[in-house]
Symmetry: C2
Subunit: 207 residues, 2 copies
Amino acid sequence: MKLNERGLLVIISGPSGVGKGTIRKALFEIPDNNFCYSVSMTTRKPREGEIDGQDYFFVSREEFERRIKINGFLEYAEFVGEYYGTPLDYIDRKMSEGKEVIVEIEVQGAQQVQERLPEAVFIFIVPPSRKALIERLIHRGTDSQEKIDKRIAKAESEYPIAYKYDYIVVNDEVHNAADRIYAIIRAEHAKTERSIHKYYKLMEGKE
Amino acid sequence: MKLNERGLLVIISGPSGVGKGTIRKALFEIPDNNFCYSVSMTTRKPREGEIDGQDYFFVSREEFERRIKINGFLEYAEFVGEYYGTPLDYIDRKMSEGKEVIVEIEVQGAQQVQERLPEAVFIFIVPPSRKALIERLIHRGTDSQEKIDKRIAKAESEYPIAYKYDYIVVNDEVHNAADRIYAIIRAEHAKTERSIHKYYKLMEGKE
């Protein structure tokens, strides 16, 4: 029995190349989970086979900018002339339905979220060692030395930001990391500030 | 991989009759756990079969009072002329060995611990409803109505203190409650304040 019935917003971030995407995938494979993805909104045209409301919410530039003005995004950015953002109303609806909304996001985006919604759960994924991170960045593809150097420099600039997060989870093995995130979600629901209101109601015999 | 290698001190408390002892037992049955009990210290004489350092640390009144003076107890109390207390040095040694020290304790004792060691993890066990708690207190034995009324009054005075704890866990079913406590322990290890020091060391390539 959970005293806090509202779902959580769980931000999974960390330096480039740490394996955030793989961990998110493993998280969704946990049996009987009540996780959901957040669906992004964009002004770019749908590609063949993409479904509105599932892959993205496809909107006009006017609609996107209207939502920016009313603070309708958890975070947003513009890439090559198109907007991409995480709409707040969708997240809020899913949380009200008791779903844990899992957002995997770059370090910069996560900082925007911290300003908008500090009550979200911020998890920073880290490599088991500096060497492991660098090896991962080198082996990621068949890129030029220049590209590899850039990626290493990016990861180097991102790793110190961990202190701004609530939790640090080591990606030593992907299922270990996903299990630990699952434990964090369960623990967060039991936190006193999230559960005391319902508890007092129960003890007053009102529910 | 855990970034925080020191064990945690986990305080399990809650109103009388909520089932703290049963939950603690279920917790120790979780496979591959690294939990340990704290061994209490007392001035009373050992009973037949009791082993020093296992059931209790049996000490003289002088030794106990010496330890009180040097703040050597997590909490202590005097019952019918004998002292009982939780020695800090034992707990500290076990935590250094990476053991999670589980202390199941009454509400009053837990308040002493909060003053001494606020960095411990404080978990308040609650019943699924007011009715469930009262039924449990009534069915506990073959006691007189007067005794039952006293127990209910005690539980009533204890339940509001939940707000002082870090977590509230519902004892709807004992294994659910134990699993949730286990999730809390795993999550607490991942907390940034407990793990960032080791993480920065790893990323500097020093470990």
